[in-house]
């Protein structure tokens, strides 16, 4: 479904080049749910952005259903049913929530359908539908609307960058249920960047990214049991996973 070959991404800092992603190779299968985890600054979000076309890799290629999409921009990838929920979604002055969600749907939707979508992300729809996507929304509310824009799109590949960040416990539980349902539909390949145990537990496979490289890609149970074992070893701040990789505690 999605194949990433020898992908690297560098940025210029002063006179030197800093490698953010180093020779990433991944194969993601159709309709599976993948959780990418790993330490902060390890390259998880950069990888997700490269997949969506938000940043252009300096080397390597990305293939969707056999098509090389490396040179395609965000719009063309979006038209190929790829979607991305930003870790820090932008606010839009003058944009009503319903207008943003209608854009996400790409077709006319009535208010009941939009309300149903908002309920999926734990928002009491009638209170929100006519509100502006501006500073009057809390970070958590904005994040849930961001997730709703991706859920609206009936995607082939959906990417969520730390969807749990800033979301309260009740809504987080609702969100976990939403991901479960989305995965149960078996129509979308899902990539979630997360550190949360409940989200890790949804994964078919977990990918550990650290220091710009893939440290491990394995079935959830294999990796989870190792994480638990490492936590039990007493090093509760960081634990060795997959060789030199470090992840923050989960759960």
């Amino acid at each position: 479904m999605l194949q990433i070959k020898n992908l690297s991404f560098s940025v210029e800092e002063g006179n030197r080049s800093v490698e953010i992603l180093k020779n990433i190779n991944l194969v993601l299968e159709k309709n599976k749910l993948y959780v990418i985890t790993g330490p902060n600054g390890g390259g998880k979000s950069s990888l997700a952005k490269a997949i969506m076309g938000i940043i252009q890799p300096t080397q390597g290629s990305i293939h969707l259903k056999g098509e090389d999409i490396t040179s395609l921009g965000i719009t063309d990838r979006a038209k190929r049913k790829m979607g991305y929920a930003f870790q820090q979604p932008p606010r839009f002055k003058g944009f009503k929530i319903k207008d943003l969600l209608k854009l996400a749907y790409g077709e006319e939707k009535n208010e009941d359908e939009i309300c149903d979508l908002l309920l999926e992300v734990g928002l009491c729809a009638q209170d929100y539908i006519n509100r502006d996507v501006d500073a009057s929304l809390s970070g958590g509310e904005l994040k849930r609307i961001e997730i709703a824009t991706v859920l609206a799109r009936n995607l082939t590949l959906a990417i969520f960058d730390e969807p749990e960040a800033g979301i309260d416990l009740w809504s987080f539980q609702k969100l976990v249920e939403t991901f479960k349902m989305m995965h149960a539909d078996k129509e979308t390949t899902i990539i979630i960047i997360s550190h949360q145990e409940k989200i890790l537990s949804l994964a078919d496979e977990v990918i550990i990214i650290a220091e710009g490289t893939v440290k491990e890609q394995a079935k959830r149970d294999d990796i989870m049991s190792r994480i638990v074992k490492d936590l039990e070893c007493g090093c509760n701040k960081t634990c060795d996973i997959g060789g030199s990789a470090h992840v923050e505690p989960i759960g």
Binding site: I54, T75, A78, K79, G83, F86, L103, A104
Partner: protein, 306 residues
């Protein structure tokens, strides 16, 4: 009486497709070409100068007055004085606005002075749209002066819109609010090419518990220039909030000159002003929904000015 050009201008400034229902006065090229009054709303020509008096009887509810102005003769300089008396306890909508078609090389200009009194407990929504078109070299110029007094418990909602085609404008708005009077001003402005726009709004909160909110949103494109002077004076126990946001693009210039002045210890006044380009994150987000960069920019501007 109304040709296709007139009808298009009327549609742009007053959302009218035909002669409106209710009270109206249509002014074309410096002369009145149509008028209707109702049992509650009277319109009378001024005896001493060009313009009309609009008198709304006390208790008039859910009625509207349309007073659009259209200029289609190139090089015309039009000046009008209109006075509005909104009776006690009434609730009306007034749709003004001016559309200019200038197909010549001389400037076409409409200057208007509107003064309002919203009587005790009255409510007025005033919509003023400006629009210009025509491929002549002459400028389309509009300079409105608006003076509004809102008596005790009165409400004035003002919608000022200039989205297209006006080359030069100088807008001057003064509002005086008495006890428990309320003002909401929404200003939306788009300039492009070499257009220039100046907007000056001064609000005096004279009465106890008077409140005012001004939301000004503008987009400046190309080499256009905008300047905003927003001034709020709190002279009693009152609350006032100015929010002035501008999106700047290309080689445009935007200046915002805020001023809030308190003359009473219980005056609460806030001014927020921001000028900036469209955030790249906003464009990326909409592109991730399948819009092109141009479509994303257009949607962002459309929402911002809606």
């Amino acid at each position: 009486m109304l040709n296709q050009l007139d009808k298009r201008l009327l549609e742009m400034v007053a959302d009218l497709h035909e002669v409106p229902q209710g009270a109206y006065n249509i002014r074309k090229n410096g002369s009145g070409i149509g008028r209707n009054t109702t049992g509650n709303i009277n319109i009378v020509s001024k005896a001493d100068k060009s313009g009309i008096d609009i008198i709304v009887k006390p208790g008039t509810i859910n009625e509207s007055v349309h007073i659009p102005v259209i200029l289609s003769t190139a090089g015309l300089q039009d000046m009008v004085y209109n006075s509005f008396d909104i009776g006690e306890g009434s609730d009306v909508v007034i749709v003004a606005g001016c559309g200019i078609h200038n197909g010549g090389d001389e400037n076409s200009q409409h200057d208007g002075v509107h003064d309002f009194i919203v009587r005790k407990g009255g409510k007025m929504r005033y919509v003023e749209k400006h629009y210009g078109e025509g491929d002549g070299k002459g400028k389309k110029i509009l300079n409105p002066k608006t003076i509004i007094t809102v008596e005790q418990d009165g409400v004035a909602e003002i919608d000022l819109v200039q989205i297209k085609g006006v080359d030069q404008t100088r807008r001057d708005t003064e509002v005086y609010l008495h006890d428990n009077a309320r003002l909401i001003v929404t200003e939306r402005l788009l300039t492009y090419a070499n257009q220039e726009a100046e907007s000056k709004i001064t609000v005096e909160l004279l009465g106890k518990e008077s409140t005012a909110q001004i939301i000004s949103r503008s987009v400046a494109q190309d080499q256009s220039k905008q300047i905003f002077y927003l001034n709020m004076l709190g002279k009693n126990q009152c609350r006032g909030h100015i929010q002035c946001d501008s999106i700047i693009m290309d080689q445009a210039v935007v200046r915002a000159v805020p001023e809030i002045s308190a003359y009473h210890t219980d005056a609460q006044l806030i001014h927020e002003a921001a000028i900036g380009k469209i955030a790249s994150e906003q464009i990326l987000k909409l592109m991730s929904l399948g819009l092109t960069e141009e479509e994303a920019e257009e949607k962002i501007l459309e929402g911002f000015l809606k």
